[in-house]
């Protein structure tokens, strides 16, 4: 795996994607780049293709045309297993909701990525202690670690998801509307904590949202319509 430090963490060019069997929607990204340590907010309406774009970056969806390079590695050059491995090692992911395995404990949820990412695993000397530390820094009480994820409030679950995305210090964090299920008050507190931890490990952040008010704390705010041509937007 090519890991030149000066490569941008994400580099997309000439990407064109269409859902198989659907002609009404197509996503075109002529060029988009994310530097190491950079935080970017990507704004777009609902149905504009934000989640689709993130899936392309994570390698769970594939394009026929163009290149998507994560940490300098072109996803198209990798096998399915290779893309899964790259995602496991390089990217921490947070969704809008349902981030955690409800039946598993909080600590098992946080440690789960290490199971699929040997490099992140070896960077984490004492996994359980690291999970505890992350939880503390994200304002979660210690006794939460042994509880089942389903017993947590939505706000707590989102913070556990941040801890899981950041364990083992991946260079890129991808967040798909992580604050939409939180009320306005806790949105800010959540972002404060998340940015605090991001800054500590110097990871990049690509977060998508439909809410432009969140833009202040990001290095860059990008409209999806500025970097992408979206055809036939869904209603």
């Amino acid at each position: 795996m090519n890991l030149r430090r000066d490569d941008p963490i994400l580099n997309m060019s000439g990407v064109r994607f269409q859902w198989p069997g659907r002609t009404s929607f197509a996503l075109n990204v002529p060029a988009f780049c994310l530097q190491r340590g950079e935080t970017v907010l990507l704004l777009g309406e609902s149905g504009s293709g934000k989640s689709t774009l993130l899936s392309l970056i994570c390698g769970t969806l594939q394009t026929g045309t163009g290149t998507i390079a994560v940490s300098g590695t072109d996803l198209a050059a990798l096998s399915g297993a290779g893309r899964d491995r790259l995602r496991a090692e390089q990217i921490g992911v947070i969704f809008q909701q349902f981030n955690l395995l409800p039946f598993a404990t909080v600590s098992d949820n946080i440690l789960l990525p290490l199971r699929f990412a040997p490099n992140r695993r070896s960077r984490t000397k004492m996994p359980f202690e690291e999970a505890t530390r992350l939880c503390r820094s994200l304002g979660l009480p210690d006794d939460l670690l042994g509880q089942r994820a389903a017993s947590l409030s939505v706000g707590q679950q989102q913070r556990v998801a941040v801890a899981r995305a950041l364990i083992g210090q991946p260079p890129l964090m991808i967040a798909d509307e992580p604050t939409s299920s939180l009320d306005a008050g806790s949105q800010n507190a959540f972002l404060d904590l998340m940015f605090g931890q991001l800054g500590e490990i110097g990871a990049s952040l690509l977060m998508v949202s439909h809410d432009p008010r969140l833009g202040d704390r990001f290095d860059r705010v990008v409209e999806l319509s500025d970097i992408a041509m979206i055809e036939g937007r869904a209603a």
């Binding site: 994570c58 769970t60 496991a88 039946f103 598993a104 098992d108």
Partner: protein, 416 residues
């Protein structure tokens, strides 16, 4: 951690998983139980007669002769005349010979006429001999020794009078000659437990007023007169024989089979048992196949529940994919869960088997004389458990492959 997650995921669906486990457990219990009863019945049968080298009777099938002479199943078509019996008894190969006369009954139990030598030479479970629990062996003409089941069922004790019926399940009882219980035998787990034993002479005495199976009208010889009569048996149903040296067994067998005065048959009990197993073998195989099918059915039930759970677990699979799991990891996890389910089911089935054995052991023993030993699992049974786990894994591959395809298509986004 993956096993811990699998267990957590299973216990989150405790109800359906519990039902699946129960179904697998019961099917495994059935399978192992059938197997136990099968082997138990075989050993019980083989344990019923030992130390006897040859059984002689009128010519019929060897299995038939074995069944009626030893197991009291079915009836003899013909008797052996007393003259032939005497002639065989004189042969040089004979170490001992015991006559058996069957055909009468007392309530639901069969009456067997024999000599006291029977108690000396009849052996079961390798080398055990009959022993009396109470009372003594026959002394008087009208003395009867009863097996332990006879005593238990009819609540007889030593000294009680009993009446013997001619023929089996017949209502015409030999009212005139009341027998007396002189002794009760210890439990053996063989058909002896369900037999009323009297002397050969007693059998003759019963039939004094009978001719070709029917009572001579108006004729009732008083007991005192019977005691004066010559009660030498006219025929025997079969004879148990011990030879002096094992090498002579076949010589004697051939001599009996070639006997010219009347058609006779001599069998080796072990060989006849083998022949019997050959006959019941088909039924055995069928029974095993049916119980194996029940296990398969339970596993297919498990497959169905995995299938129906897939849709609600798509989010779970998306989470796994997001943290870097491959679709094949998801396939592996489902197979692992199925193996755990099958393993717990099979082990629980084992527990049920032991509980069932504890409960059924006395019942089977008293009702059928089949003793099922409670012992640690045999390799064969452990093999069954491993086979069930493996079959669970194989069966789960079908829904697991569907999960593989689903998670490949869904990626991190579940279309809701």
């Amino acid at each position: 951690m993956i096993i811990r997650l699998a267990i957590a995921s299973l216990s989150a669906r405790a109800l359906t998983v519990g039902m699946t486990i129960l179904a697998i457990a019961l099917s495994v219990t059935l399978f192992l139980g059938v197997e136990k009863i099968r082997t138990g019945a075989k050993t019980s049968f083989s344990d019923t007669i030992s130390g006897t080298d040859l059984i002689v009777g009128a010519r019929s099938g060897s299995v038939q002769l074995l069944l009626y002479s030893v197991f009291r199943i079915g009836n003899a078509t013909n008797n052996v005349t007393w003259e032939s019996y005497q002639e065989i008894a004189q042969r040089p190969e004979i170490e001992w010979i015991v006559p058996i006369s069957l055909g009468d009954s007392h309530r639901q139990f069969r009456v067997m006429g024999t000599s006291t030598a029977f108690f000396e030479y009849y052996q079961y479970r390798q080398d055990r001999s009959l022993e009396t629990a109470e009372g003594a062996l026959m002394d008087d003409l009208f003395d009867a020794v009863i097996g332990s089941d006879v005593a238990d069922t009819l609540e007889y004790s030593v000294g009680d009078p009993i009446v013997v019926a001619h023929g089996l399940a017949s209502f015409t009882e030999h009212k005139d000659q009341p027998f007396r219980v002189s002794g009760i035998l210890k439990k053996t787990g063989t058909p002896v437990d369900r037999t009323v034993i009297v002397s050969m002479e007693a059998i003759e005495a019963i039939h004094v007023d009978w001719k070709s199976g029917a009572k001579v009208p108006g004729k009732t010889t008083p007991v005192d007169m019977i005691r004066q009569m010559d009660l030498t048996p006219k025929a025997v149903t079969a004879a148990l024989i011990g030879v002096k040296s094992p090498l002579q067994t076949f010589t004697l067998q051939r001599a009996v089979n070639d006997y010219t005065e009347e058609p006779l048959l001599a069998i080796l009990p072990g060989v006849a048992l083998q022949e019997l197993w050959g006959i019941v073998g088909i039924a055995e195989t069928a029974l095993l196949a049916v119980s194996a099918m029940v296990v398969v059915t339970a596993l297919i039930g498990m497959m169905a529940t995995i299938f129906s759970s897939l849709n609600e677990r798509r989010r779970e699979m998306a989470i796994f994919r997001a943290v870097g799991a491959r679709p094949s990891n998801i396939l592996g996890m489902l197979v692992l869960e199925a193996m755990l389910t099958a393993a717990v089911g099979a082990l629980l089935g084992f527990c049920f088997l032991y509980v069932g054995l504890l409960a059924a052991q006395p019942v089977l023993d008293s009702a059928y004389g089949i003793w099922l030993p409670i012992e640690p699992p045999k390799w064969r049974e452990i093999g069954v458990v491993l086979a069930v786990i493996a079959a669970g894994a194989i069966v789960s591959l079908v829904p697991a492959y569907r999960a593989y395809r689903l998670s490949l298509a869904d990626g991190m986004m579940v279309k809701s």
